[in-house]
Amino acid sequence: MEMVQFKELLFEKGREVGFTDMEIYYQAERETTVRVFRGEIDAYNIAEKAGLSFRGVIGGKMGYSYTEKIDADSVDLLLQEARENAAILEQSESEEIFAGSERYVELRDQSQQLRELTPDVLIDTAKAMEAAALAHDPRVEMVNSCMTVNSETELTIMNTKGLNCHTKDNLVIGYISALAKEDGVVSSAAKGEYSLRNIEEVNAAELAQTAASEAVGKLGAQTIESGQYPVILRNETASTLLKAFVSVFSGESASKGLTLLQDRVGQKVAGENVTIIDDPHRTDAPGSTPFDSEGMATARHDVVRNGELVTFLHNLKTAKHFGVESTGNAYKASYRGSVSVQPNNLVLEPGDRSLDELIAGTERGLMLVELQGVHAGTNAVSGDFSLACIGHLIENGKIVRPVNQITVSGNILELLNNVEAIGNDLKFDGYGRGAVGAPSIKIKSLAIAGK
């Protein structure tokens, strides 16, 4: 069934049963994934998925429902479920359907090459990655995961207030995990890279070599004495940690009393050297978008400026709660989700030091290159974290040996108040909306548990 036709039928029947404002959010994705193992294609996946989210106001409340089966039969199901879901809502503040912004930024279409990419290129790239990792060092025993993914996502939001927003995004990903082995001990390192433009930017050979050399570099890792250490969070660990705590900046968390930054807008919450910006229009970042999940035009916002909390991130409902304007951060994880709040591209502003300089400036400390179990070892409500990790010991400004079987623990706010130096090597965690990026950062002191 054609989407426009389906929408007309849905809105017409919706009005008949008592919905006033209504909206559909339609997402369609095509994706090809190639996995390679020992020079052969190990798996080849072709995905075509589409789903439709409906929301509508009935009895003054917003009801939601979704379906992946888009046919006339689903119209009644969508309306009935949304009506029942609205009926049980008990909160006084309600969402609203948005009529549209005056203007939207035009993001440059960069992805012509990706739309024309053939499966053979994905296969060749994956095979080349695996070969490059194996050839890099004889201690690389195996590439236990090696894949390339090319995807195209289309999103359409249309509503009865006349909003009609549409985007099409392309993304290519390379991912490789290498195992190194020496004296019966195994170590591993995984690396991923994406591009919104072309497969060359994934730098497949370099990615593979980095994974291989990092796996080898972890061989012979030992624990260290427990204690307080100066710690460099290399860029990917800094962005992973910041992402785990991103809800502390969410207006939704704030409206529910679930952030440790409660009531702290306008106050110092981090060190003077910390600035955090949400910029939805970067050309190099995976979360860029001209409109948010409510159809509102996105914009760049300072979240923390020189240590001061400038604003929480908001959608229409949380903005109304605090009597401010939405920051254009309405977010739906997919057509199965309701509207929440997420950053678009939240970035801890880089400094001017290279990672090498950060290392050279450390007399005795640790550089962490991998954090494990982040979903389990972080508490976004309290800000506390305690995470298993892998890193390297630094002595007299030089890396001396790999370290594992340790944990790093602390509190995210204490950490943001103890940043000694900031690197210039910004890296994003994740590939889609809700992206968070950070450069390498050096923390004055963190608790390390070892032996």
Partner: protein, 459 residues
């Protein structure tokens, strides 16, 4: 869902380029979720997933494609497109579909659609009231209700044609304690592969008070110490340690590649002789149980480790081809968007002889992890990590004081070998297990166990 003739045509189309096996997985699932925050329902979502997954095997090469456009024309096209990845000679395979009936071992009395949303929020309200009235220190509650009702059709070129229905429901209860600027939370998430009779018969108030008790205990707790010390891990969700540290390493996905520390160790002593570990997909109405797995094979009870000796792996069809071993009914997937692979159902360490009181009384100094949180594992290196949700210091055989913020780290085989006491109080906890075929419900379980030495990360 799809008629037999169409299924047959799709399977034939999939085999046109030389594949030796084709399979179709059709799914029609309704799900709903409701969130109650501080006693007020603030989110309600429900809907329908519908899609078709087509898999073609050629030896150990697998192609997978899926779509939710279920027109005949499109399904045949998707099968042919997928087949393009196999460049061989068409084989002479005759498909003779025989409809087989599933024996339902897990009774579903009250399906989610039989129960009104008003009644569903009453379960939630009971949890909210019990948790918030537990103590004035409880400042917030969050209760999430989840249900699903999944109909599947699985057919393959070997003649299998089978349909099944699965239903789950779960209540996730979180209580948050506040003390000035500080917050700590306690959680409990009972669930089952069952109808809503599960929640009717559940002592919801007990679970809610227990979540509140954890939050209250942790707000008054000091930070855990660091170092290598004996660790006692209690029953139920404590079994996450075996699930993460060993279970994933026993899945064909990593064993077949030789990328697991357990590869090639069948018949060897890999654990303390006190340890017997089992994965059982047949436990009546358990959260991770199924009548048939997602390739249509009946689930079974698989002994993984017996008295410390490695006895078996968890194997799906593709793993079976790669390893030359029989499938163990362990193929699972989140939904039609994932090719099935070897996964756990309900995995547990079997009960031993010690009473919990004996284990604590026999521990001079150590950490007692009453409730575990989540964790992760690198199956290649065996490195694991787990968060302790509620922990205590044990001194001179007695529980001394609560501690917060502890993380347990170690290596899978090492920890198995260091289990020196196994309790007699086997019980299960519910979790969502994530891996390459998506997120699936799985029970973890164990009695109380003691590990002679484990690294505790505190601060």
């Amino acid at each position: 869902m799809l008629n037999q003739a169409l299924v047959e045509d799709i399977l034939y189309a999939a085999l046109e380029t030389g594949g030796d096996f084709a399979e179709i997985f059709v799914e029609d699932k309704t799900s709903s979720s409701i969130q109650m925050l501080g006693g007020t329902v603030d989110t309600a979502m429900s809907g329908r997933d519908f899609g078709v997954g087509i898999r073609i095997l050629n030896g150990v090469f697998a192609v997978y494609a899926y779509t939710n456009d279920f027109s005949r024309e499109n399904l045949i096209k998707v099968a042919r497109n997928a087949a393009q990845a196999i460049r061989g000679q068409k084989q002479d395979i005759r498909i003779d579909l025989r409809k087989s009936l599933v024996t339902p071992h897990h009774e579903l009395k009250l399906l989610p659609s039989d129960v009104s949303k008003a009644r569903k929020i009453e379960y939630m309200r009971r949890a909210h009231i019990a948790a918030s009235e537990y103590d004035p220190v409880i400042s917030q509650t969050r209760v999430i209700y989840l249900d699903d009702d999944q109909k599947v059709l699985i057919a393959n070129s070997e003649g299998l044609f089978v349909e099944d229905r699965r239903a789950h429901n779960r209540l996730q209860i979180e209580a948050i304690a506040s003390n000035g600027s500080e917050k700590q939370s306690g959680q409990y998430g009972p669930g089952a592969h069952s109808g809503l009779e599960f929640l009717d018969n559940l002592d919801i108030e007990w679970y809610a008070r227990e979540a509140a008790r954890t939050a209250k205990t942790m707000i008054h707790a000091e930070f855990a110490p660091s170092g290598k010390i004996p660790v006692i891990i209690d029953n139920e969700f404590g079994g996450v340690i075996f699930h993460e540290a060993c279970g994933h390493g026993l899945e064909a996905t990593s064993v077949a590649k030789g990328a697991s520390v357990f590869a090639g160790k069948l018949g060897e002593l890999v654990a303390s002789p006190l340890v017997t570990a089992i994965d059982d997909g047949t436990i009546k109405n358990a959260w991770g149980s199924l009548n048939i797995d997602d390739e249509g094979s009946p689930t079974q009870r698989n002994v993984l480790i017996e008295n410390g000796v490695l006895k078996g792996y968890l194997i799906d069809k593709l793993g079976s081809r790669k390893m030359g071993m029989a499938s163990t009914g362990s193929a699972r997937r989140q939904n039609y968007q994932f090719a099935p692979t070897s996964r756990m159902n309900n995995t547990f360490i079997a009960g031993g002889n010690s009473t919990p009181e004996e284990i604590i009384a026999n521990t001079e100094y150590g950490l007692y992890a009453k409730y575990m949180g989540g964790g992760s594992v690198n199956t290649a290196t065996g490195d694991f990590n787990f968060a302790v949700r509620e922990g205590y210091i044990v001194r001179n055989g007695k529980i001394e004081k609560p501690v917060r913020g502890a993380t347990l780290i170690g290596k899978g085989i090492e920890v198995l070998q260091k289990i020196d006491m196994v309790g007699n109080n086997l019980a299960f906890g519910q979790g969502m297990c994530g891996s390459i075929s998506g997120s699936i419900p799985a029970d973890v379980g164990q009695p109380m166990i003691r590990v002679s030495e484990l690294t505790v990360g505190g601060r």
